[in-house]
């Protein structure tokens, strides 16, 4: 059985495929799996770090700006690099994990799952290619969860 798992999907619902992360998080939440807490948000906020610190594993889900199909879904474990916030207000997954570790003593394993985005115009709904990639992404998430073991 995996430990406590959080899925964080984020993006903008009215910028086409940028919503891919949101949509996946919402679909996973709708499955109502007890072991998973899945949330969707427009962007990553610093207070998320406090929440994440209590989990054993965190998977961030976002759209990639590189177009592609289901073969282009990628998953990467997060490292220690920290990109400073500049003029924008958005935090990166690395920064949120950094906050979780340094401020709240949490040590979740964490990954960023990126789904290729093909259309980012002003619209709601995903492109066909990204929708298909979303299905692949969902499979990857649940395969990962099966592989995760409960911590000692």
């Amino acid at each position: 059985m995996p430990g406590k798992v959080m899925i964080v999907g984020y993006g903008n619902q009215i910028r086409g495929d940028d919503a891919a992360g949101l949509v996946l998080a919402e679909r996973i939440a709708a499955r109502d799996e007890r072991r998973i807490h899945s949330i969707a948000m427009p962007q990553l906020y610093p207070e998320l770090a406090h929440q994440i610190a209590e989990y054993d594993s965190v998977i961030f889900v976002d759209a990639s700006l590189e177009p592609g199909d289901e073969n282009d879904v990628t998953i990467r474990e997060l490292g220690k690099s920290l990109t400073p916030v500049l003029l924008g207000h958005a935090y990166s997954p690395d920064e949120i994990i950094g906050l979780a570790k340094r401020l709240y003593g949490g040590h979740p394993r964490s990954w960023i799952l990126t789904i290729p985005g093909n259309e980012f115009g002003w619209k709601e709904g995903l492109s066909t290619a990204t929708e298909k990639a979303l299905g692949k992404a969902e499979q990857i998430v649940f395969r990962m969860l099966e592989d995760m073991k409960e911590p000692d």
Binding site: N12, A49, L86
Partner: protein, 490 residues
């Protein structure tokens, strides 16, 4: 500069042999903030421009949508200030319905707006500005961020996150677990506060008040250290605009508009927000997709004005709560002639946080918050509506035209950050003139320009409806339009 008519061509560009050709959108996916610094024949800084290269298309996207949907749609422009758009949009809808919303709904919307201001200002100060101020503008950018703040002052960093969390808690308690598009609606709101929610929020107040006061004391301890920055970070005469209540005091949700000048003299007062087009014009420059609002009676660009915390404290008589008014008095004694310096946006933000905490405390005692009389129902009674309220960064206007069925036929949003556009450009120019002479851009100038722009706490997402981080590129342009040097970050 002469204002030009707005163009809808996203690839518009212009060439002038003596100035730089600007704006060929690199990508419509990630805008970037580009700054060009123009030198004259003697190598001195003649002009500087803060270009936003992301094309705004949001208003076009909304055409044809029912005005009922607009709060929910516009809330998705930005992840930091969705509530601001919810409120202004709902108010535009109120105008289309031609209703006066119930008093309880007004109070609930105000409560949400206070929460919004707290969370946004807390993010701005603790995460974006405090690292500059605590660690120094010249410190390594790799450290000059919230992680550097955590190393230096971990308790302050945690308090800042908690303070922002309080603001978010106000919003979530009212609107649901996330920003609920159907909570703030034309005609009112869809749900009152529960008693449980009231007590939850009340429990946060002591800590929030304490954190706000700690931050204010900290900033006051820095004022002398940063007199030079205060002198040249956007320190120039402009008008200031914002909402005031019937008595001319601090107002964030309703009221009338007031303009004051750099000496605090009232230039125009009790202006009706729905008639904003009579006194606010919007100019367009070919080198930026962000429009340039200005005060019409003074023309462009002399009608430059600033909005946001600095403006709100400049225009108001008092705030109306004891601790915030005490701090306002101290602020006015301390900033003196520098009340026009954009550097003091940081200070003003902190006083507004305290004000909002106090106002929330007062509101939570009001039994009206749990009333079920929270919505006025009507159909389309006007085909045009304007909603205005104070977003954290300044006055926000939503202006809709609808058909008889309530479908939008035209949408115009005047965003707070856009209204500070002229001032941000002038601030960048001032910093450049103070720190650049010759063909090279000193490394530290990038830090100072960042800090100068950051004082305004711009929401470039809102003003351009973009997403993603904002890389910063600074180019030094010679008198013949040639690029002499460039530096970039992120």
């Amino acid at each position: 500069m002469n204002p030009k008519h707005e163009t809808q061509n996203p690839k518009h560009e212009t060439r002038n042999p003596n100035k730089l050709r600007i704006i060929d959108p690199v990508t419509r996916l990630e805008g970037h903030a580009k700054i060009t610094i123009h030198l004259d024949d003697s190598g001195k800084v003649e002009d500087a421009r803060f270009h936003v290269t992301e094309f705004r298309g949001f208003e076009r996207f909304c055409v044809g949508r029912p005005f009922w949907e607009m709060p929910g749609i516009t809330a998705r422009i930005c992840g930091i200030c969705p509530v601001s758009h919810l409120l202004a949009s709902a108010k535009a809808g109120d105008a289309i319905l031609a209703v006066e919303i119930p008093p309880a709904a007004v109070k609930l919307r105000r409560l949400m707006n206070y929460g919004q201001i707290i969370q946004s200002h807390a993010l701005s100060f603790f995460h974006l500005s405090a690292p500059d101020l605590l660690l120094g503008f010249d410190s390594d950018p790799k450290q000059r961020n919230v992680f550097g703040l955590m190393e230096a002052e971990p308790d302050l960093a945690r308090r800042g996150i908690r303070l922002r969390q309080f603001g978010q808690e106000v919003i979530a308690t009212l609107g649901g677990k996330k920003i609920h598009p159907s909570w703030c609606v034309p005609g009112g709101v869809s749900a009152p506060l529960t008693e449980e929610g009231r007590e939850t929020l009340r429990a946060w107040l002591p800590e929030a008040r304490e954190t706000a006061n700690i931050a204010i004391e900290l900033f006051k301890s820095w004022i002398d250290q940063y007199r030079e920055e205060a002198r040249c970070f956007g320190n120039f005469p402009t008008l200031f605009m914002g909402l005031v209540d019937d008595e001319g005091n601090w107002e964030t949700y309703d009221g009338r508009l007031r303009f004051v000048d750099e000496k605090g003299r009232i230039v125009a007062d009790m202006l009706v927000p729905s008639r904003f087009k009579e006194f606010i014009g919007e100019a367009v420059e070919p080198w930026s997709y962000l429009k340039f609002p200005y005060y019409k009676p003074r023309g462009y660009p002399d009608g430059i004005y600033r909005v946001g915390p600095l403006a709100r404290l400049n225009i108001c008589g008092k705030i109306g709560t004891p601790e915030a008014d005490r701090e306002l008095d101290t602020y006015r004694e301390a900033v003196g002639d520098a009340a026009g310096s954009s550097f003091f946006y940081h200070y003003a933000r902190l006083i507004e946080i305290l004000a909002c905490v106090e106002k929330i405390g007062l509101l939570l005692d009001d039994p009206d918050l749990t009333s079920d009389r929270i919505r006025a129902h009507a159909g389309v009674n006007r085909v045009e509506g304007v909603g205005a309220s104070e977003a954290p960064r300044g006055t926000l206007f939503h202006h809709y035209h609808v058909d008889d069925n309530g479908l939008t036929t035209a949408v115009n949003l005047i965003i707070a950050t856009g209204q500070n556009n002229l001032a941000m450009n002038k601030a960048v120019k001032q910093i450049a003139q103070n720190h650049i002479s010759g063909p090279k851009i000193p490394e530290g100038v990038l830090n100072l320009i960042e800090a100068g722009v950051r004082a305004f706490d711009p929401c470039l997402s809102c003003s351009t409806h973009a997403f993603g981080k904002m890389p910063l590129k600074v180019s030094l342009i010679g008198p013949k339009g040639e690029i002499i040097s460039e530096i970039a970050r992120n």
